[in-house]
Symmetry: C2
Subunit: 316 residues, 2 copies
């Protein structure tokens, strides 16, 4: 095959992936559960290239000696048909890069799917998820739309640590992206995660918190209990940020706008609006609400990007 393309959506975790038990294999300490962002994701096209690997992101060449470029080359090593085979990887992303909207997740997921197709690998879902995970942990959840759960697994080699989609659909559910800052982060989520696991006195409570979060999320999804889903996701995000705030030195991804918006959300909720947030390793907030409140929320937050995760007609 001369060329192969694949699309993978970004995803937002409702139960966060925060902490690795194996840094090299991206094996997590806990399971996690996400929703994919439908049309916001990455399309990756693969071709053969002469002399060396060549990477493009949104039409711009990626410099060969950057960290991102090394991660890609390292990832591709295990796929070369022969040692002198080089790849051209052209990625178009519709999500802001490095803004805490898991752009590396959809990028590595799309790359994995494109490789499977380009090299006729015919890998099954678990194998694809495991390979995507090697590129970026949460990429293993970006192979599907809708709710996706990543089982932490127990094996040292990580062969039981992969994601599977949940069968439940929830067409009324909406996710809104509120982007305060799309500049590159001062500390990468990878480094923040590592430092938190090593230094936060609260981290030892994290695995039990996530275990409880997952049980509650499953019943919220089964019973379509939106208040329970929202409150549980929000509490999980605040617990994750609390482990960061208490690491040494403290890691604070919150900007003044982040806190102003949290306060506004809590105020609106006190007035009866069913609106919740989650936050990843960045200053932006991701809002959770239902279709019935979408107009009101778009009026309240004019810059919001409102996503219907199960309304897939426009997705690739």
């Amino acid at each position: 095959m001369n060329e192969a393309s694949a699309y993978a959506p970004a995803n937002i975790a409702l139960a966060k992936y925060w902490g690795k038990r194996n840094e090299e294999l991206n094996l997590p300490i806990t399971s996690s559960l996400s929703i994919s962002l439908n049309q916001y994701g990455a399309t990756t096209t693969l071709k053969e290239h002469t002399q060396h690997d060549y990477f493009q992101l949104n039409g711009h060449a990626i410099e060969p000696n950057t960290e991102f470029s090394s991660r890609l080359t390292q990832f591709l090593e295990r796929f070369r048909p022969h040692p002198n085979f080089y790849f051209e990887v052209d990625t178009h992303s519709t999500v802001p890069i490095a803004a805490g909207v898991a752009s590396s997740a959809c990028g590595f997921a799309a790359l994995t799917l494109a490789l499977n197709s380009f090299l006729d690998l015919n890998l099954d879902d678990a194998a694809l998820s495991i390979l995507a995970r090697r590129g970026s942990g949460s990429a293993c959840r970006s192979l599907w739309h809708g709710f996706v759960e990543w089982q932490a697994g127990k094996l040292d080699n990580g062969m039981d640590s992969f994601a599977t989609p949940l069968p439940q659909e929830w067409h009324e559910l909406r996710i809104g992206l509120l982007l305060f800052n799309t500049e590159k982060k001062s500390i990468s989520s990878r480094a923040a995660m590592h430092q938190t696991v090593l230094t936060s006195p609260f981290y030892r409570e994290w695995p039990q918190i996530v275990a409880k979060t997952l049980v509650t999320l499953h019943s919220a999804i089964d019973e379509k209990d939106f208040s329970l889903l929202g409150a549980t996701a929000e509490a999980n995000a605040l617990a994750m940020h609390s482990t960061m705030l208490t690491s040494e030195p403290s890691i604070c991804y919150w900007l003044p706008e982040t806190v102003a918006t949290m306060q506004k959300i809590w105020q609106l909720r006190a007035q009866g609006l069913e609106l919740y947030f989650t936050q990843d390793a960045g200053p932006n907030l991701k809002l959770l609400y239902l279709q019935q409140d979408e107009h009101l929320i778009q009026e309240t937050f004019p810059s919001i990007i409102s996503i219907a995760p199960w309304n897939l007609q426009n997705a690739q």
Copy 2:
């Protein structure tokens, strides 16, 4: 005696008092350590009143049926020379009320000292501290200037739970108050503390965190290691706020200005300025720095109230 007056300074905890093992007696789960705020505190004058208790705060009568008024009456019950004896309590505070600058602490401390004098009780320091604690937990630390440590104690009756001043002085140390909001808080520290102990999954780690904070603060004070003092106090405050953020529902005293200032402090520190903060159950920050940087910090934060805790010539 017809009238008696006493002054007590407000205090800022470097190792926070956060969580009670006995709500009625204000017995804490952990010990705590504070610095007193010199001339910022409360002066309380006591007289006999006819018919009923009468309370004034900064020249304004306190309504008889408010929560504050009930707390004062309840506190005074154990001091009445006879059942039909009523007190007039006139308090002048130089700290903003209910803004997280422990105005109830200096108020109950001053009242305890004034009662001791007015009624000729000749109580010793431990007894005074225990009585002040019954009014408001951290009031037991407001009987002295400088560093004060409150030993949690172990007895059910609280007779071993009182504060004592530390002998060390640190004349170069400064505390700066940055007040973003002096309005009444949405949730009292009393209620926030109660809810946190009951619902935060991180609270179980708090006692060990404070134990470690206290050991480190003692060596920072002994060795006049300002970086260690500041970093330890700041980490303790962030840990306390993390227990609040993870309570159900979440308690967030942070305002946009709080986070903007934290970020500014971290940025200045990265540039070499020895500047740290602590924060109580309110949005305001209390900065820690040394005399040598006082001018620079006053230029950077023009609204700061800079306090020299051991420069007592102006204190009452």
